[in-house]
């Protein structure tokens, strides 16, 4: 009977059923977000006003943590540095990813596409931490890379403990994901527009910049945003490849907790990060989809 109702719905019952169905499936996500995002976020805000006495968290309403953290030059410096690192990571990754995703979307045969996609997924089979420790062995002063360059009389180049080291880690973390997201976006570009542009005498490079990129803008922006979010909050690369020299906000959180169990001050830093990510994500979504709306 129920099956019959589902297969032959009347207009009215269908609307009611769809609502209930959507509610049923949407509810777990809403509950999840409420329990694991909104509630901790509220708790995080509350905790920023707590104090720590002899390593013990004490519920309080004191602005001392905010005043303390914002009065330190190095906290502000670390904030802008992390913002810069995240942005640089996102741009570098997006630029590096584009030729690969373009080739995969427009030049590769379906078989090569499938192999390519599989290869982009395989890095996720291994722990990110393991991959970063492997990089340490490759880029260290006596590592594989410098030994190889040494054969040609080059180097050794100091990579560990530098911005380049951190970027190597960021790229390891985000590149496969960015290529995948760009690829899916580029695959959705209507080939007729490309043909039309070329028929009208538009060169290949101009077609890429004036037709393909604008049409795939949503995916490209979202891929870059994902890269920013991952880089901005990453602890492993700036620690193990950047050697905390200088630190990022994630390292600052760890240090703040480590030194005197100061969770409230760490919560201030965490909140700075969450708010930044919310602003960046919404701004990116606004720009990504505004373009789409104009087109329709």
């Amino acid at each position: 009977m129920a099956d019959k109702a589902l297969t032959q719905p009347t207009a009215g019952t269908a609307a009611r059923n769809v609502d209930g169905y959507a509610l049923f499936w949407g509810l777990p996500l809403a509950l999840w977000q409420l329990v694991f995002f909104v509630a901790p976020l509220v708790f995080l805000v509350v905790m920023t006003f707590w104090t720590v006495k002899n390593f013990r968290l004490t519920p309080d309403f004191d602005t001392v943590n905010w005043v303390n953290m914002f009065s330190k030059g190095y906290v502000i410096d670390t904030y802008f540095r992390t913002l810069w690192y995240g942005a640089l990571g996102a741009v570098v990754c997006s630029v590096l990813a584009f030729p690969a995703s373009y080739a995969l979307a427009f030049k590769a045969s379906p078989v090569v596409q499938r192999i390519g996609l599989f290869m982009l997924i395989t890095p996720f089979f291994t722990s990110y931490l393991v991959r970063i420790y492997s990089w340490q062995a490759v880029v260290s002063d006596n590592g594989v890379l410098n030994n190889l360059l040494g054969v040609f009389g080059l180097g050794p180049f100091n990579i560990l403990g530098t911005l380049l080291g951190t970027m190597v880690g960021y790229i390891t973390l985000t590149l496969p994901l960015v290529i995948l997201l760009q690829f899916f976006s580029l695959s959705g570009v209507d080939r007729n527009y490309i043909e039309a542009a070329q028929n009208l005498g538009c060169g290949r490079l101009r077609t890429v910049f004036l037709v393909i990129i604008p049409l795939a803008k949503t995916g490209i922006i979202l891929a870059g945003t994902f890269a920013f979010i991952l880089c901005f909050g990453d602890l492993v690369s700036p620690t193990s490849l950047g050697s905390s020299k200088p630190p990022t906000l994630s390292i600052l959180i760890v240090d703040t907790v480590k030194q005197g169990n100061n969770w409230p001050r760490a919560a201030v830093v965490a909140l700075m990060m969450v708010l930044t990510l919310i602003v960046v994500a919404f701004t990116a979504i606004f720009f990504a989809y505004r373009v789409k709306k104009e087109k329709t």
Partner: protein, 381 residues
């Protein structure tokens, strides 16, 4: 066969009712399994042990577990302040035995987290005299902790590049051949403590504000030499890869394992002095198994337990029990030599007697905050 298949098919179709039933069952299962785990953990035959990594490993605790039909449940931490955080945030009596660095014993006593101990329960007569009435373990004549193991912190260096003679002063850290090659153990306390010794402070952690300002300048002046700020795994990697050729603030507990693997690294205690770390055992207040906990401490501080602690796989440490030394020389002579626990050669106690070693402690005249602030600024220079 076909009919059976056809009969079976509908049973796999997911309806909302089935989904809800399944969810309820899953929730019940999760609740039941966590309840089972709680029951298992609260059983009489377990003993919880808050400790540094490796102290609860089978190679250390197995004989005690077998002899007493008990399971040691270790909860590991890295750094004394992490230990204070854990113990403060747990319910009273969560841990039966607490292993802590010496400098935190007073804090734990003041916070009512550890109990007074009866000195007659422990074989202090077997200990080297230096460890029988150790400062920080006895407070107002009452015993609160028994020392388990110890080690010295000074200059760790790559012997291919820096000789022991060169490393006999912390000055070597500023040597041009170490520019960009000095690693920093990312814990302000031992790292700044050694630099305070370099500044000539005999009590490196008990310095006035003028000496503290000077220490700040000394710390900051090391920045151009720094390869990076490292946690324990990164220290091992950096010394192996040659990315760092020297450190201050660490010691044998890192280099013994590395040199055993063939890496050219060693620890030298400079003439300006070294720092001693000490791990000590206390009975947790409100621990429900005080007798068993006491037996466990007796086991760890007796000769067999001592040798097992000294040679555990996470890191080696020196031991205070002379009978433990004797046993190690009998059954593990090579290890006794590496640990400098030989009675017939210059050993770790001679270095202690030289007066070069100062106990690590928390800052006396400034706050933890003041010292860690300098360290944070240093990292951000």
């Amino acid at each position: 066969m076909t009919a059976r298949k056809a009969d079976k098919k509908p049973t796999w179709r997911l309806t909302r009712r089935k989904f809800l039933k399944g969810s309820a069952a899953a929730a019940a299962l999760i609740a039941a399994s966590s309840a089972t785990r709680r029951v298992a953990w609260s059983e009489e035959n377990t003993l919880s042990y808050l400790c540094w990594p490796g102290h609860g490993a089978p190679e250390v605790v197995e004989p005690f577990e077998q002899a007493n039909n008990v399971k040691i449940i270790p909860k590991e931490y890295v750094g004394g302040e992490a230990m204070m955080a854990l113990i403060n945030q747990s319910d009273p009596g969560t841990y039966d035995v607490v292993l802590s660095d010496r400098e935190y014993i007073v804090m734990m006593r003041d916070a009512g987290l550890i109990d007074e101990m009866d000195p007659n329960d422990y074989a202090f007569d077997d200990f080297w005299p230096e460890f029988q009435k150790m400062p920080g373990h006895w407070l107002n004549g009452k015993l609160y902790s028994v020392v388990l193991d110890f080690g010295y912190l000074g200059v760790v260096h790559n012997t291919d590049v820096i000789s022991e003679k060169e490393a006999s002063s912390y000055k070597v850290l500023w040597d041009p051949k170490l520019t960009g090659k000095v690693g920093q153990f990312d814990w302000y306390l031992p790292s700044m403590g050694n630099l305070s010794q370099y500044n000539g402070n005999k009590s490196p952690f008990d310095i006035d504000d003028a000496a503290f300002a000077k220490l700040r300048d000394t710390v900051f002046s090391l920045k151009p030499q720094v390869a990076g700020y490292h946690g324990i795994p990164d220290i091992f990697n950096a010394l192996k890869n040659g990315d760092a050729l020297a450190y201050q603030g660490i010691g044998d507990w890192i280099t013994i394992l590395l040199s055993a693997e063939g890496y050219p690294v060693t620890t030298t205690i400079p003439d300006e002095g070294g720092i001693q770390w000490t791990e000590s055992l206390s009975l947790s207040t409100d621990g429900k198994k005080q007798d068993l906990a006491k037996k466990f401490i007796q086991y760890l501080t007796a000769p067999e337990g001592q040798v097992r602690v000294a040679l555990k796989s996470s890191y080696w440490g020196s031991i205070p029990n002379k009978k433990g030394w004797t046993l190690m020389n009998d059954i593990k002579p090579n290890e006794a030599t590496i640990l400098r626990h030989r009675f017939d050669q210059r050993n770790v106690m001679d270095e202690y007697a030289d007066g070069k070693i100062t106990l690590r402690q928390l800052p006396e005249q400034q706050s933890i905050d003041d010292w860690s602030e300098v360290w944070n600024e240093y990292k951000n220079l």
